[in-house]
């Protein structure tokens, strides 16, 4: 499809450490259209951040490498792209918002200059006046008075710092933002403001976004489409309505939902998913969730197919494959 901004096919990423090889991403496929918002959900170690770093070509050099598959971003092959070319794209076509605003800003540089820096790098022949005007506009856009541009990061609160990080990410109007847990370090009231801000700007600039989070609530409130990751692969994907309202659900997705205490209903006891994510240094043949799954059978030793249970709602599980072949239920 020509209208896809981002196409990831069968991506595999490994980290070579001194002790062992870590299989972080195992055959992940994703598509993203212009202006679309995708929530990438999963627990620690699911490979969410590794996926983002691969798209940015920012995997730690010499340790992390793409071992299979392809990433096409806006017509560029991000796996084989030259570093110099990648630099031109970063900040301009694709930007990343990191989890911790405290550590992603330069402490000895005024915030206005940090926003200006990005603009300057990507627009060589822009005049100083124009630069300053753009910085002022951007600061007002994220809700910080422009007269504070000469202040340093430590003079701002956590929420304000994250606003500046967002300003830096958006100032070149990229086509894609990768937001890696952008609100996890913030209080709920600030989180609500920040999610509103990101959504608002994204619509105004028609930017596509991948929102990485472990919080299903955040996804429900902000994303059109959702992909659930487990042990380096997408095990379920679909529109937010399909994932949150579905009768059919991957056993892991169901487990995630049942494990959260609900504000709007009383749950006497939480359901847990026993066990933990499989050791990422061991290659698993069959379903990676099988050892924690209540419904696991011998069938699960074979890698499950991706089944389209309803239009554009995909689940990677034998339960649904059997059903579609005229099995019971």
């Amino acid at each position: 499809m020509a209208d896809n901004l981002l196409e990831i096919k069968d991506l595999s990423v490994e980290y070579d450490t001194e002790i062992a090889t870590v299989y972080a991403v195992n055959g992940l496929s994703l598509n993203l259209k212009n202006g679309e918002t995708l929530g990438l959900v999963g627990e620690t170690g699911a490979g969410k951040t590794t996926t983002c770093l691969s798209i940015m070509k920012l995997l730690p050099e010499g340790i992390g490498q793409v071992t299979g598959g392809s990433i096409i971003l806006d017509g560029h092959d991000m796996v084989n792209i030259h570093e110099e070319e990648a630099q031109k794209l970063r900040g301009n076509v694709v930007s990343m918002i990191f989890q911790d605003p405290m550590s992603s800003l330069n402490p000895v540089m005024a915030v206005g200059d940090q926003i200006k820096e990005v603009l300057k790098i990507h627009n060589k022949d822009i005049s100083e006046e124009e630069l300053n005007k753009k910085v002022d506009d951007m600061m007002e856009l994220v809700g910080i008075p422009a007269n504070r541009k000469n202040e340093y990061p430590h003079e701002f609160s956590g929420g304000m710092k994250q606003r500046i990080v967002i300003a830096i990410a958006l100032v070149c109007e990229p086509k894609l933002i990768l937001a890696d847990e952008p609100t996890t370090a913030l209080d709920v009231t600030i989180q609500a403001q920040m999610l509103g801000l990101i959504n608002d700007l994204q619509q105004r600039l028609n930017t596509a976004m991948i929102l990485v989070t472990h919080d299903l609530g955040v996804v429900a409130q902000t994303c059109e489409n959702v992909a659930v990751m487990y042990a380096g692969e997408v095990i379920e994907s679909g529109s937010a309505e399909q994932i949150f309202g579905a009768q059919k659900m991957h056993p892991y997705t169901r487990g995630l939902f049942n494990a959260i205490p609900k504000l709007d209903e009383d749950t006497p006891r939480l359901e847990t998913i026993e066990g933990m994510i499989p050791d990422p240094t061991v290659k698993v043949e069959g379903c990676r969730f099988a050892e924690r799954c209540k419904f696991a059978t011998d069938h699960c030793k074979v890698n499950p197919p991706v089944v389209e249970v309803e239009p554009s709602h995909f689940i990677k599980c034998h339960l649904f494959a059997d059903e579609n072949n005229g099995g019971n239920q």
Partner: protein
């Protein structure tokens, strides 16, 4: 309710000296926790909830007010007096990685309190007690010789709980015990804490910023804002009928994992926490409050009992 009150705070205060003036971290807080119950304390970062928990255990000395434990005023206890009491009062910390000694194995981490209090007469008894505790918190025997860095976050937090339980305490301050954990692990730890409460009639103060977690585990809830209690009620009452504008704003800001449910709202609350240094008299929430009027300024707002057992510190409810 006729329950015995185990922990009580009366007008408890803690001020810290800073270069800009006195920081009012906890400013006149009152509460009672009946034995076997959980008091949830919620608020944003900087509202003084952790300081409050530490005050109860004398990890900070109070600037003013009283702490009463089991009918005895312990406010002026010296470290020597506290040591004895620490068998009964324990704490579970937020970050399981930072609160465990990396050079001790699981057995010695859990056994450390037993050694401190010389609770065992022989090596055999010590090992037996440690394994008993490990079983209680759901750690398999094979981990006894592991070090904390070899375990995942959920198991590390189980060690933290095991350490707190070692001396059979009555009261535990849980300071954000599940915030660093994934949801599936969080559910396991919450279930464990609730089971332990039932088995051992434990009393908890549960400090968290997560409203859905606090709703799940608490019997009563105190909402804090800049060092003060702004609302207090039993859990069900608080969630069905939140009174203080801050509580309403907090509830509106929580993203609910459902499509049909309510949408996020930032209508109620704009801006961020103001400074807790030398606060002026008056409602501290007023600068962010959409209902603020002249009446909110100039004088401190007391807690009004709006309905039985439901208190809110807002001029809307002044009689």
């Amino acid at each position: 309710m006729g329950d015995k009150i185990l922990v009580e705070a009366k007008d408890l205060k803690k001020y810290f000296k800073t270069s800009k003036g006195m920081l009012h971290a906890v400013d006149g807080v009152n509460f009672k926790i009946p034995q076997g119950k959980t008091l949830g304390v919620v608020g944003e970062s900087g509202c003084g909830k952790s300081t409050l928990g530490r005050l109860l255990l004398h990890l900070h000395d109070a600037t003013g007010g009283k702490i009463i434990y089991d009918g005895i005023d312990i406010t002026d206890y010296k470290p020597k007096d506290m040591k004895e009491l620490r068998k009964k009062m324990q704490m579970i910390f937020q970050d399981p990685s930072a609160s465990l000694d990396p050079r001790l194995d699981v057995q010695d981490l859990i056994g450390e309190p037993l050694k401190n209090f010389k609770a065992c007469n022989s090596k055999e008894e010590y090992i037996e007690r440690v394994h008993e505790i490990m079983k209680t918190v759901g750690l398999a025997d094979r981990y006894a010789q592991s070090y904390s860095h070899e375990l995942d976050g959920g198991r590390r937090q189980r060690i933290g709980i095991g350490r707190a339980l070692a001396m059979n305490p009555e009261f535990i301050v849980c300071d954000e015990p599940v915030s660093a954990l994934d949801v599936s692990i969080q559910a396991q730890v919450l279930n464990l804490l609730m089971d332990l409460q039932e088995d051992k009639n434990l009393t908890y103060m549960f400090i968290t910023h997560d409203l859905s977690v606090v709703k799940h585990i608490s019997h009563a809830i105190m909402v804090m804002y800049l060092g003060q209690c702004v609302e207090y009620a039993e859990t069900k009452e608080l969630f069905q009928n939140p009174l203080h504008p801050y509580t309403v704003g907090l509830l509106d800001a929580v993203p609910v994992p459902s499509i049909s449910g309510k949408k996020l709202s930032t209508q109620v609350m704009r801006g961020e926490l103001t400074s807790p240094i030398e606060p002026k008299p008056g409602c501290r929430f007023a600068p962010r409050c959409p209902y603020a009027t002249e009446a909110c300024k100039g004088q401190n707002i007391p807690l009004y009992e709006v309905s039985q057992g439901h208190f809110a510190a807002c001029v809307k409810y002044a009689k």
